[in-house]
């Protein structure tokens, strides 16, 4: 059991000459993901295109998307969700958007910034988080453990609400990785996730059921 043992075997194996048939199979495509951008589903060059892609995919995924003009309108949306679901408590984390919106909401807030009490968080009907970005190409929300309230906040509650500003809508996954590298450099958070719709399963007779283990409902409120 050793690193050098396995690496040695790998090197020895790689030194074996390849059969020409396999060599022919090897060299067809580009090895640079950046060059393959155009082969993947489109992200959108303009904001209008990106928005059209994002909302089209969100609809397919049963993600509710609300576009609001400003914080005030976002607060109204949240208040409406609050009154329809009747939240006893709200879980969230400190961030410009949540500070402004969650504190005013009414129910007691469980902040996850100083550590997470799993049982308390589990009992919350809703988790409200910021995000690193929205991805038009896939209809995804990009979150990290550092910028979005930790690992559990966005997966443990039955309803996950994402607050984003319109300029966070990026064209594609590649742009998402660029953003992460730019924002965090070599110190990437220990947890990064592309969330594409609510938790789902088709394990029983291929019938789609939402809320398999994580949120049953995903709402994205886009401000601006």
């Amino acid at each position: 059991m050793s690193r050098e043992g396995i690496l040695g075997r790998v090197r020895e194996a790689l030194a074996h000459p390849l059969h020409p048939d396999v060599r022919a199979l090897a060299g067809e495509g580009t090895r640079d993901a950046r060059e393959a951008r155009g082969f993947l589903p489109p992200g959108g060059g303009t904001f209008r295109e990106r928005w059209a892609n994002f909302t089209r995919l969100a609809e397919k995924l049963n993600v509710e998307v609300a576009r609001v003009a400003d914080l005030e309108e976002a607060a109204e949306w949240l208040a409406e969700l609050e009154s329809s679901e009747g939240w006893s408590r709200v879980a969230s984390h400190r961030h410009d958007l949540t500070d402004a919106l969650v504190t005013e909401l009414g129910p007691e807030v469980l902040w996850t910034d100083d550590g997470v009490d799993t049982d308390a968080l589990e009992a919350c009907p809703v988790g409200i988080t910021a995000c690193e970005a929205l991805i038009a190409q896939t209809g995804s929300v990009l979150v990290t453990g550092k910028g979005c309230g930790g690992r559990a906040l966005s997966v443990l509650t039955p309803h996950h609400i994402v607050l984003a500003s319109a300029d966070q809508l990026l064209p594609d996954m590649l742009a998402g990785y660029d953003l992460l590298r730019e924002r965090y450099g070599d110190d990437l958070p220990s947890f990064i996730s592309f969330i594409t719709g609510a938790s789902r399963t088709g394990d029983i007779e291929r019938i789609l059921v939402l809320g398999a283990h994580g949120p049953k409902r995903l709402t994205v409120i886009v401000i601006g």
Partner: protein
Amino acid sequence: MSEASIQFKHDADESTVDFEHRRWMQDALRGYENSRGGTEATFGDFEEARKTAAAIKWEAIEHLDRHLESFADKLEARGAKICWADNGKEAVDYILGVCRDRGAKKIIKSKCMTTEEIHLNPALRAAGMEVVESDLGEYIVQLREEDPFHFVFPAMHLKRDKISKIFEEKIGSEPSSDPGELTMIARRQLRRKYCEADIGISGANFGVADTGMISITENEGNARLTTSLPKVHIAVMGIEKVIPKLEDLSVMLQMLGTAGTGQWLTAYNSMIGGPRRAGETDGPEEFHLVLLDNHRTRLLADPEQRDALRCIRCGACLNVCPIFKNIGGHSYGTTYQGPIGSVITPHLRGLRSFKHLSYSSSLCGACTETCPVKIDLHHHLLRNRRDAVMEKGGKLEGFAFRQFAWMMSRPKLYRAGEGMMRFAARLRKPLNGGRMDPLKSWTRTRDLPDPAPKSFHRQWKERRKDPRGGGS
């Protein structure tokens, strides 16, 4: 014949005559093909994307030593502990050691075929620990004490009534015929398990060499919970899962979703780099990664089949395979079913015992055509057949073919034989399908058509004599 091949023949025989089950499978897999087709159409150029995915994985394999080193160094710098395991036993021993050190009693797992490959669950259970699979399909087959039927859809062979019944028996729930309700029963059960677990064990779909992170693809969120709540996270991955760069995931994740389930991206594609970091609010205190060889280097050394290590375990080759559709996943008796399983299992577990899998293929090539990383699957099956014959050729088979060749090159003898066959066929007819039928191993499950009244050769001759006579 090896024990594995006798079992295979027996199980395949049984499931092939179960027509209802076959129809069920075919309906389910047609659903997959439809959604995959729709998703492929949204790509700018799916074929080019596929070539890119194959090339990225090839780059990873071709410089596997370099990428593995970078991956391990980066991950260690992020506080991970790494175990380099030559084989399943070393991997299991290491994991048992971590569990003992932590005094762990309860373990939650998210889907990981590599742990099936090394038979981790029985070992943990034997050491007195409770192990719970959290993927819904895996949870169901675990309750039924059977193996996954398909390495992406573990419980696709079960209808809701069977699932309801096993829940009733094992966890005392009320019967239900609603998949939504059944899912919620499992959700409630498993919620408690995540919160109570001492250790979470996951797999990894990719290891990103330049950032030192693993990537996990899932739909249910069970892997996220498994890797978030317990104090210790152990990930188990094969050494071939490394890819060079973070950016490569933009191609690989979308290919995995599309080829795996027909989704353009699954619900959660998460990267995890080590334990919780300073300034983060939650996450495990410890992160261990087990990097497993278990004969993967043997496949790497194979001059013809190295590309099989490109596999991203999407399961697409199973979904389109006419053999898989008919015999089902359990017949294979392997961790990895279907064409890719038939290709790699002889390398991982020995050609002698698993060469029969190379014959569980019609060589139609549907697997090769659908593979998102362009593995030359059906040719590899053919190569394994050749290797099996070279290793221990069938002497009788060789003799029979030599006789056949000898007869076929002698037209008179051939025609005499043909006449005898016709006569023998008439004699056999009344015995058709019965116990006395000399061809009963064929006619038990298939029809044997009557020979044509006149051979092609005779028809040809007659036509030439009388071109307007119609010939037959």
